[in-house]
Symmetry: C2
Subunit: 348 residues, 2 copies
Amino acid sequence: MTAPQEKSPFVQACRREPVPYTPVWFMRQAGRSLPEYRRVREGISMLDSCTRPELITEITMQPLRRYDVDAAILFSDIVVPLRAVGIDVDIKAGIGPVVETPVRTAEDLGPLRALEPGDVPYVTDAVRALVTELGERPLIGFAGGPFTLASYLVEGGPSKNHEATKALMYGNPELWHALLGRLADIIISFLRIQVAAGASAVQLFDSWVGAVAPDDYWQAIMPHTSRIFAALGSAGVPRIHFGVGTGELLRLMGEAGADVVGVDWRIPLDEAVRRVEPGKALQGNLDPAILLAPWEVIEERARDVLVRGRTAEGHVFNLGHGVLPDTDPDVLARLVDLVHAESARAPS
Amino acid sequence: MTAPQEKSPFVQACRREPVPYTPVWFMRQAGRSLPEYRRVREGISMLDSCTRPELITEITMQPLRRYDVDAAILFSDIVVPLRAVGIDVDIKAGIGPVVETPVRTAEDLGPLRALEPGDVPYVTDAVRALVTELGERPLIGFAGGPFTLASYLVEGGPSKNHEATKALMYGNPELWHALLGRLADIIISFLRIQVAAGASAVQLFDSWVGAVAPDDYWQAIMPHTSRIFAALGSAGVPRIHFGVGTGELLRLMGEAGADVVGVDWRIPLDEAVRRVEPGKALQGNLDPAILLAPWEVIEERARDVLVRGRTAEGHVFNLGHGVLPDTDPDVLARLVDLVHAESARAPS
């Protein structure tokens, strides 16, 4: 690939190549924290807004007009490909994804058919439009990870303890692997569609996978994650893997085939470096709640993240989880500038 | 102390002394998973049930009639001492603790006065009655930890991200330390009252402290936890410290002065052994969700916990968090017997 995005600091950091400064973007940089987002979403449901190419494009671009971030991330939701194959899932305000018929038996797998590009034309259209508009700035494609999607499907909605999901995982491994196999197929397809349309990188958000112990991750989830990353290998784009509370899983999440391992704020980046195998870049990991503190505190903590990040073979600055809704956009703008200025000055 | 409980396997394991078998109890062994609990609670609010000595005693004893567990834990709630000093807090069904006036300024600290034994006569009465009824079986007293109590007070209720709490912690260290200082005073007092009435051990549940990074724990929370454990030192009872998702904090949680470090299910016990400093016993750590799986799975996982637990200087078997409401009590009964039989047979 000789696309202009190849020489962007974001892609270079993902590839562990030298960078002029540490690239930065924010999980959920588009969305609830921006007044212009709330304005364009007025009267439009979350899933509707993820199926209109102009709206996807507009919302994806909004943060880039405010922040000098080094990448855009496609505005979508992890349940979009499930809905696209016909699963009766909706996103309820204040609750999250709700699935009409939870998956409990082999028969329930029926609707989880293969995802075709024709199922998500709005994604292809939006990615193409965005790539043109973004120029040298890379677009990150994304998909939900297999455990997280399985949890919504099995629980029927958001869950604190993932009881039913784990009961299935422990109690019926055959059905569990069949479910995760189908989800992996859908995820691979959804990510390939985004890459084919021009996305420069992909992130697999297995947000809730930190709820399982390492042995269970290895046995019940990692085979599917590995297949997803392997299937994306020939695409040649950096593959990022992120989940919350995954301190004990970081090595395995890297071994599954990620080029970049996302780290939440609970584990210092230099400790994360010691846990992943060599040959991985890291992404993270300022506590999103710190952005609600005075600027002096934010500045000090952001510098600390940069210093620890220098021990990694490559570092993409990010928060340790998504931007919180109450975050002041001006603070994010200032943080981007700080990260760029500090890292350009420091020996890398 | 030469009380009969001193020679119980539970206290011996906490003290890292040889035991005839691995002692076991379960966080939330009393409560929602038991039909007899739901029966006695009918029409009585949670906080009311925590202030009636006969009800506290009955509910504390209920699991001991079903399970051969090695310790009872006082039925109470972490907000009981807050309510006792006059904080307007209630426990709403399906929500959790709700605080009428959240703490945001120095003036809001006013109501957090010192806790006197006369504020919680029902606790003294219940502990005394229980100690008599339990005989050689130890009673564990408990209190909520400073971060967790602070979070309920600052947020005004349960919180996913603890934003306001962290904003205070990062943004106003003076008020933060004043708040945690007052909470530590109340916690010390509440635990001393339970020990004075006959509790054989205490557990500090700082359930949500895993939401902070190690540096923040060290700086903002640990000084107060250390003071709590130090103040309990002369009481001579084992001090247990537990929180969820605390893989990165285990060493510090031990260093704060705990004799026993509680471990959630995310981190294998043999890895937890490597993280805590020598001279600590461990407690844990079967995933509570495993109890919803078939018995063969539970058996295999429980054995695995026992094997890994043997690498610790002392091991108290427990779940990695509280018993889930849907758990079958018969499964817990069977698990207790398994832990006893397996560990009595195995070389320790």
